[in-house]
Amino acid sequence: MDSIATFFEMGGYARFVWPAYGLVGLVTVGLLVTSLRTLRVRERALAALQEEMPGRRGRSRDL
């Protein structure tokens, strides 16, 4: 258990090292989640639009 505590202490620099890693984790995961969510929302919007115009439905099959 002692070694785990030592590890988290980061030689006395815990308050610099962990926020750096935390911030990078937060921003990258946030970037991924918002990008995925935008894609899903737009995919649904496009599908709904194509429902309205049956004449063009076949054209975007490969979406």
Binding site: F7, A20, T28, L32, S35, T38, R42, D62, L63
Partner: protein, 251 residues
């Protein structure tokens, strides 16, 4: 490259590549994190703060890769007027801006214990801050027009003019020897880091780069769909599709 320029083909290809890149990213960052936090030594001068390097350097790298992607795509968009190029530039901007912000923030957290200050007007730090402002300016300009084509054109010119900053960032540590340490990775004479530190750093850089491409592909796909939606709405308004651009995007 020519084949990729077709939006439909791009969509198909990116769907095939994406899961593999995502897997590579998770594996590389996973192993990289293990070495960065457990499997590498503390620095004899900087102690444990050196571990910040393993997230700071990949962030800096992607901040510059993002800008280079944006500038290249902007050039292609301006010269060949290809709609996909504008979408790539637009998609790259927020990703590059995020990593530039992370580079500055993690650098600040590293600078406080090692240099005794959160910030200094050192050449490297200042040019990196300018990079962040260029990204923000690009994003503001590009969304300031009702017509997305005009916004893309104006923003593309800014992206190209601002590209001069990228080599300045790279060489700032050699031209002005102030606070930031010089390059230890991208050197003509090879990296100067010991293998125990080089391994986790390269793993993290590779993993972050895969992540960058995955998010870029997701965002380009979202931009292509947004263009299709716009094209369909235009044809709804006009009753028939007269616009060649709309036709190209909807196809």
């Amino acid at each position: 490259m020519q084949g990729l320029a077709n939006p439909a083909r791009f969509m198909r290809l990116s769907k095939v590549v994406q899961p593999w890149l995502a897997l590579a990213s998770v594996l590389l960052i996973g192993v990289g994190l293990y070495f960065a936090l457990f499997g590498s030594p503390a620095d004899y001068q900087q102690g444990q703060t050196v571990r910040i390097m393993y997230v700071h350097v990949p962030s800096a790298w992607l901040g510059m890769v993002g800008y280079t992607t944006m500038a290249l795509a902007s050039a292609v968009g301006l010269i060949w007027k290809h709609p996909l190029a504008d979408l790539v530039a637009k998609a790259a901007a927020p990703i590059g801006a995020s990593f530039t912000f992370l580079c500055l923030a993690t650098g600040s957290l590293w600078g406080k214990p090692m240099w005794g200050t959160w910030w200094a007007w050192d050449a490297r730090l200042t040019s990196m801050l300018i990079l962040l402002f260029l990204y923000l300016g690009y994003m503001a300009l590009q969304s300031a027009f009702d017509d997305p084509g005009r916004g893309a054109r104006a923003a593309a010119i800014l992206a190209l003019a601002g590209f001069i900053n990228v080599p300045i960032i790279k060489f700032s540590v050699d031209w002005w020897k102030t606070l930031h340490q010089p390059a230890s990775l991208m050197k003509m004479s090879g990296p100067t880091l010991p293998p125990s530190m080089l391994t986790p750093l390269l793993l993290m850089v590779a993993g972050f780069t895969c992540f960058f491409v995955v998010v870029l592909l997701l965002r380009v796909r979202a931009e292509i769909i947004a263009s299709k939606i716009r094209a369909i709405r235009l044809t709804q308004i006009h009753g028939s599709h007269e616009s060649p651009l709309a036709d190209r995007l909807a196809g």
